[in-house]
Amino acid sequence: MLRSVGVTDVDELFESVPEAVRLGRPLDLPDGLSEMETAAAMRALADANTPATRLVSFAGAGCYDHYIPAIVDHVVRRPEFFTAYTPYQPEVSQGTLQNIYEFQTLMCELTGMDVANASMYDGATAFVEAALMASRITKRHKVVVAGSVHPEWRVVLRTYAASGNIEVVTCPVEDGVISAATAALLVDDSTAALLVSSPNFVGHLEDLAALGQVAHAAGALFVVSVNPILAGVLEPPSSFGADIVVGEGQPLGNPMSMGGPGLGFFACRQAHLRQLPGRIVGRTVDVDGRGAFVLTMQTREQHIRREKATSNICSNHALNALAAAVYLSAVGAAGLESVGRACVAKAHYLRDALLATEKFDAPYSAPFANEFALRYAGDPAAMHAQMLRRGFLAGVDLGTIDPGMDGLVLFAVTEKRTKAEMDSLAKEVASL
């Protein structure tokens, strides 16, 4: 090969690299390993962890341990899916494209919205993109975000807002939710959107009907984040006037994987299609008249519009969207409803059991679904550590996420948790 290129040493091909910036030494990294050694090294790192899945885990707060049907990973591991690039050549990408079209449909069905995109990075970035999109649509600068939205998401929103493109105002939390009356004081004719999450960070359901009216009365858009695993039991946000619905899709068939990669989903009303960020797949025909799928509406996107694009997003989370689509096909509408029912019933069972130990108080009274916060009568960190030794991940110690929530513990219950495990958690906590 060197001879064909007309050089005697591969270094001659790097002659355009100025002498001054050539590294001129080996990288200071360990020598390469054989596959067997690499596998052993990675296994050692894995074995140095105690994953939530090997504990009796009640940790949620945006990342959930739901059952993943076996078929899901078998589909995701097809190399035709995971080794492919973005489907720029539709003639040889119909698998990816049809899946995205089906995923878009599934997200519309879950949220009740008209159109959905091909995915975003995660719930937090989808949430921020919704705020930016609302600002473009309304040509207004301010967004009002519920203080009950996940603290990490609100930090991400603030980080993006430092661009000056939007201004963020936070609606304070009262009894675990935001009130429509307080929101109405903050949402005005300079407000692009009211952004809420329901269930919110501490598990409570917001009064979406009232909040949607507050947003619309001021000409603002209503942006709602939902947990899609509950879409079989909770009325979709479209019924409460939501204009944009986003969320974290990890609960649908994706492993927790330390919180990433997750799956941001993004759906909106037809009227706002042209302001949608990200990729969209549409159905058309080929020259022989056969139905086929293709990336479309690309004049919104960065590779065409550059600085006028609706977003800079290029790579998305297509493979996680594939997992979600397979998951939803595997459970079906009846299965999704069963999962939702089980989570809600078990969460209510556990809350009663924990309150019965008299080690906890209920700080809030609003309705909740699969997750709830309790105040621990002691040091939650110490309780956590003691329960960990007994094999439990006893929820999330909220003081470690937001000092304002010191003393609170957030418990999530998925369909994987059994009555015996919950009884045992309550018994062990009672014995502390």
């Binding site: 090969m1 591969v10 790097f14 355009s16 910036v21 990294l29 020598d31 390469g32 390993l33 894995a46 105690t50 090997r54 945006g62 990342c63 589909v75 080794t83 050549q89 003639e91 698998g95 899946n99 079209y101 089906e102 878009q104 599934l106 959905a116 990075y121 995660d122 980080t159 430092a162 039991v233 009325e235 927790m256 330390m258 990669p261 299609l273 549409g282 058309t284 080929d286 020259v287 056969r290 479309t296 509406m297 960065q302 519009r305 550059r306 977003s311 290029c314 790579s315 297509a318 939803l328 509408a333 299965g335 029912r341 019933a345 078990k346 209510h348 309705p367 956590h384 009555k419 015996a420």
Partner: protein, 500 residues
């Protein structure tokens, strides 16, 4: 061989479009069933304060075998790196080692929850610290965040750090300079970060025109965003003068690391004077593209910028254990959790397997393979700038258009009939009928030779039978699509009313 060919029934199991998953199966079809509820049933209406779903979503009704066959069929209509050569310029479609797919699924990694106590994920933190250290050494930039989910997300992270850095000095500044040969994500990122874009023309080599750059630089400029090696696959020989000029007005230099696969172990962006760089782990570090993602776009920065890194940062503590830290002037977070951890796991396995010498050898082979193909093709497809390239090169299809009325798009579509994924086409915009090849180091000599042979054969076809190319492809599951119809009559979802 088209759909109308009677020898190929149109509903043959592995050919042509397939009905939607929503149109598959029957209402009774079920795949997984939930186990019986082991706690007392509760009234949903009461628990959920009346917001119980009234109409079930129209989800598919399918059995497991129907799911398996549906996605099997979809898979057969896809082309991945395993399907054949994938020389997609600027995308680095190298082989995805299978070990990495296994290790990211180890329960000790995939089963981690982001809010577990620190002592229960020391291995994961150690992995992230190890990867951060390796990326710092490879880039020559000591501060690293693994949080960004993709290249464009890394760009945004870095430009927001630039904004914080300038703001801390008293003035966020107004503009970011971008050469016209840049990826579209660069200007889109700048707009999201609240800056104005100033575009400067590139010279004929796709390199920065130093005079144009100097004319555009003033104290309103926050940064220059530059891809080096550039999008023509050429290393900018003036790189040191460029970053010095940028620094002379107090601005910062950003390197779009899309082309890092050319220079690992050979040259480091930090040594070139860049202040920040994103690395596409889904390009250079072999993690799969997933049909569009997930990727990961870690950002490496100078010590001066490190105080602005987003958090949380995995850190090595004095006692040898690992923890999580925040910098003093952190811009905040750009997403949830720590990053696309599952992608980081794969990339770290790649770094361990190759080691320092292996990474350098990968870049050397990528560059040699690109030059090999370039030399064999440049006599047939004009090469706008004839000198050794880095890991990719850009040919022009202008001669085929002029002599035979065949466009680069036709060449690309014809490649599909030969079982080769087309290169990137019509990018960069500064080359007429651009054809951008990036063979990567994982294509064998046999496959490089076959790609060359096919490209030469297609040029011969263009001369003898241009209409053959105009009609291509013929052998793919579907043929050229009516993209205008997709825009004019948007059909973006299936609707239940149209079913069954």
């Amino acid at each position: 061989m088209t759909a109308s060919d009677a020898r190929f029934p149109t509903d043959a199991p592995t050919r042509g479009p397939r009905k939607l998953i929503f149109e598959t199966g029957s209402p009774e079809s079920r795949c997984v069933e939930a186990p019986p509820l082991d706690v007392p049933e509760i009234s949903l209406d009461e628990a959920l304060a009346g917001s119980v779903r009234s109409h079930a979503p129209a989800l598919p009704h399918v059995t497991e075998v129907e799911i398996a066959r549906h996605y099997h069929h979809l898979a057969t209509m896809n082309f991945g790196v395993d399907s054949g050569p994938y020389p997609l310029g600027s995308c680095t479609m190298k082989y995805n080692p299978r070990l990495n797919e296994d290790v990211c699924r180890l329960e000790g990694l995939s089963g981690l929850h982001p809010y577990q106590p620190l002592e229960t994920f020391q291995g994961a933190l150690g992995l992230m610290v190890g990867l951060s250290d390796a990326l710092a050494e490879i880039s020559g930039l000591p501060g690293v965040t693994l949080q960004p989910a993709a290249g464009a997300h890394g760009e945004f992270t870095a430009v927001m750090m630039f904004r914080a850095y300038h703001t801390a000095k008293g003035d966020p500044r107004k503009r970011v300079i971008i050469p016209d040969a840049a990826h579209g994500t660069n200007p889109a990122t700048v707009a999201m970060a609240g800056y104005e874009v100033t575009t400067i023309a590139s010279d004929a080599r796709g390199a920065v025109d130093l005079d144009a750059l100097k004319a555009a630089l003033d104290t309103d400029v926050a940064a220059l965003m530059l891809t080096n090696p550039n999008t023509l696959g050429l290393f900018d020989p003036n790189i040191v003068a460029i970053t010095e000029a940028v620094h002379a007005v107090g601005a910062l230099a950003y390197c779009d690391g899309a082309n890092m696969n050319a220079i690992m172990g050979k040259a480091r962006p930090g040594d070139m004077g860049f202040d920040a760089l994103h690395i596409n782990l889904h390009k250079t570090f072999s993690t799969p593209h997933g049909g569009g993602g997930p990727g990961a776009g870690p950002v490496c920065v100078t010590a001066a910028l490190a105080p602005f890194l987003p958090g949380p940062l995995p850190v090595r503590l004095d006692d040898g254990t690992f923890g999580v830290g925040w910098t003093d002037h952190s811009i905040g977070r750009v997403r949830s959790s720590f990053g696309n951890f599952g992608v980081l796991v794969r990339a770290y396995a790649y770094v361990l397997a190759l080691g320092g010498d292996g990474l350098r050898a990968a870049s050397e082979q990528a560059v040699l393979s690109a030059n090999y193909m370039k030399e064999k093709l440049k006599g047939t497809y004009p090469l706008p700038y004839d000198r050794p390239c880095m890991h990719e090169f850009v040919l022009s299809g202008a001669r085929l258009r002029k002599e035979h009325g065949v466009h680069t798009l036709d060449v690309a579509k014809r490649l599909l009939d030969y079982g080769i994924h087309p290169p990137t086409i019509y990018f960069p915009l500064i080359v007429d009928e651009a054809i951008m090849f990036e063979p990567t180091e994982t294509e064998s000599l046999e496959d490089l030779d076959r790609m060359i042979e096919v490209m030469l054969e297609i040029a011969a076809e263009a001369a003898s039978d241009p209409d053959l190319l105009h009609g291509a492809p013929y052998s793919t599951p579907v043929r050229r699509l009516d993209e205008a119809r997709a825009v004019k009559q948007p059909d973006l979802r299936w609707r239940p009313s149209s079913a069954r």
